[in-house]
């Protein structure tokens, strides 16, 4: 449809510089530059390194996105940018760039919520989102359960991690097992040859007393420590560490809690659609377990392809497209980057 909004999306909340172009629900371009290799030797994302990389990558990534989509800035209806949550200095590069493009091309700018964008990106693959839906967003930076009644109006947080993000736990355990950064893909690979039942690792916040106060919250810090203790005890005893079994048992503990709580949230809220997003959504065990449990509960699971689960510009453009279509007002030109942006804000109001 030619009258569907053409929206450009800019993402710089962590270590990926992303520029995406979306028309309606159709993805036209998704250009990405990552500084992940520069962070590897530090075992985690270094904010200043990420911010410097965003500045260097912004113009070339924008150019690739426009070329790939075959459009110019003059063609777009709006520019959407991640305003938060994320790393403050990193967010600021994207927000300032978006304003520069908006000023130059005389276009409205939408400062949007990164987590809502993780939900919106699924519409590029699976079409309009049936609402209400529950979303499970899991990555190195976030672990959240949300209820989505109207993606363009607001999102209700149901629960979140009270300590480490799920992806962070993958990174830390991978390091413990001598694997590289990021840890998610390495653990997933090693776990294929392992026996998940070989070791019983704890499931955080699943005991009855924890469920009373933290029914939809997560905790991965205790699990990470339990894995460290187990591995160290083996090493002290001079026994080899069964890396594949540890990886499989750890991965199973994480995915068990994530999917159990996500399905519980759907049931409790009478919701029949579960969207999973974020980098950890690429985990093979998480996908299988979510499908199995959702099928039993009569719930439909929607997971975008791995390239759209991790941070990218397409997700921001996808949310921007929804906002423009819904007639939501654009953000003001003094729009701030907000590292702790609340989920109740989908787009910074004008």
């Amino acid at each position: 449809m030619p009258d569907e909004p053409l929206v450009l999306g800019i993402e710089t909340s962590c270590d990926e510089t992303g520029v995406g172009v979306v028309r309606g629900h159709t993805l036209l371009a998704d250009a990405l530059a990552s500084s992940v290799d520069q962070h590897a030797r530090f075992g985690g994302v270094v904010p200043e390194v990420a911010s410097r990389a965003h500045l260097e990558a912004m113009v070339p990534t924008m150019q690739r996105a426009l070329d790939e989509a075959g459009v110019t800035l003059a063609d777009v209806d709006a520019i959407a940018v991640t305003a938060g949550p994320g790393l403050a200095g990193a967010l600021l590069v994207g927000v300032a760039a978006a304003k520069g493009y908006a000023l130059a091309a005389d276009k409205p700018v939408y400062g949007v919520n990164h987590l809502a964008a993780h939900v919106a990106v699924d519409t590029l693959e699976h079409g309009p989102l049936p609402e209400p839906a529950v979303a499970l967003l899991v990555s190195g930076g976030h672990s959240s359960l949300l209820r989505v009644d109207d993606l363009t109006a607001g999102v209700t947080p149901l629960g979140a991690t009270i300590d480490d993000a799920a992806g962070e736990a993958f990174d830390k355990v991978a390091r413990l097992l001598g694997m590289g950064f990021p840890g998610g893909p390495a653990i997933d690979r090693a776990a294929r040859d392992g026996d998940a039942g070989a070791i019983a690792f704890p499931r955080g916040l699943t005991a009855p007393k924890d469920l009373a106060a933290h029914r939809f919250d997560f905790s991965f810090s205790g699990l990470k420590t339990a894995v460290a203790r187990w591995v160290e005890a083996r090493e002290r005893a001079g026994e080899p560490v069964p890396v594949s079994d540890v990886a499989a048992a750890f991965q199973d503990a994480v995915c068990d809690v994530l999917t159990a709580k996500a399905i519980d949230a759907c049931r409790t809220h009478g919701v029949r659609t579960l969207v999973i997003g974020g980098g950890v959504a690429a985990n093979s065990r998480l996908r299988v377990l979510a499908e199995q449990r959702a099928a039993k509960a009569g719930i439909r699971v929607r997971v975008p392809r791995p390239g759209l689960c991790t941070d990218n510009g397409a997700m921001v453009a996808a949310l921007g497209s929804r906002l423009v279509a819904a007639g939501v007002a654009a953000s003001p030109l003094d729009l701030p980057a907000d590292s702790a942006m609340s989920l109740t804000t989908v787009a910074v109001a004008g």
């Binding site: 500045l55 113009v59 200095g89 413990l176 003094d334 729009l335």
Partner: protein, 218 residues
């Protein structure tokens, strides 16, 4: 040719519009807001207001000049990415100039120390002879600055005036837009190719390669 100049390397967000002619230049409008934490919020509306005041539309501008710093990184990047984005969108050449040079040029004749606040009890410094820089800009503690000047300018010089022991010209604290444009005027007149705006960080990122893993068993 109409030129837009931006600088966010000091607590000031600076936006200016000037006209560069064959034999000179004249400033049309300039706005400056001093808030070290608000470059990201202030700069874009300020560009808009400065253009309005000058009666100039952005698409009439022919070149962009940006202060490359040195300056505190987060704020510095706001000006540079904004300039780069506008330049890319309108296919305009972008020219980078050293922010300290704009202060040194403004300070005028004589031997002048330019110092801006680098935070963490450090300053960005350079020395100028009759408005022209002598040597490379540096970042260091005020006490480590080799003072070889008759007076000092810049908000770093005011903050650490007792350390430098120089008379201070308090009128020159932040880089004026006209000075930024003047520093690039020859290149603008010659129609020189623009350049990527590479910040003068002068410091490496604070990051320590992760040590061996911590033990959890006692």
């Amino acid at each position: 040719m109409l030129v837009l100049a931006l600088d966010t390397a000091t607590p000031a967000s600076v936006a200016a519009v000037a006209e560069v002619t064959d034999d000179g230049m004249r400033g049309l409008a300039e706005r400056r807001t001093v808030d070290p934490r608000a470059h990201g919020e202030l700069l874009a509306p300020q560009i808009s207001a400065t253009l309005d005041e000058a009666g100039v539309r952005l698409r009439e501008v022919g070149a962009i000049v940006a202060g490359l710093g040195p300056g505190p990184f987060t704020g510095l990047r706001v000006g540079l990415v904004t300039a780069a984005a506008i330049g890319q969108a309108l296919r305009l050449p972008t020219y980078g100039v050293c922010t300290l040079d704009a202060l040194g040029r403004t300070a005028g004749p004589g031997r002048v120390l330019v110092a801006t606040d680098a935070r963490r009890r450090e300053v960005y410094v350079a020395t100028y002879q009759d408005g022209v820089r002598v040597g490379e800009p540096d970042v260091c503690r005020p006490a480590e600055v080799r003072v070889d000047a008759d007076r000092a300018v810049g908000e770093g010089a005011i903050r650490y005036s007792e350390v430098f022991g120089l008379p201070i010209d308090e009128r020159v604290q932040f880089p004026p837009g006209a000075a930024l444009v003047a520093l690039a005027a020859d290149r603008i007149r010659a129609g020189a190719p623009g350049e990527p705006l590479t910040p003068l960080y002068l410091r490496h990122p604070d990051a320590v390669a992760s040590a061996s893993r911590k033990h959890v068993l006692q």
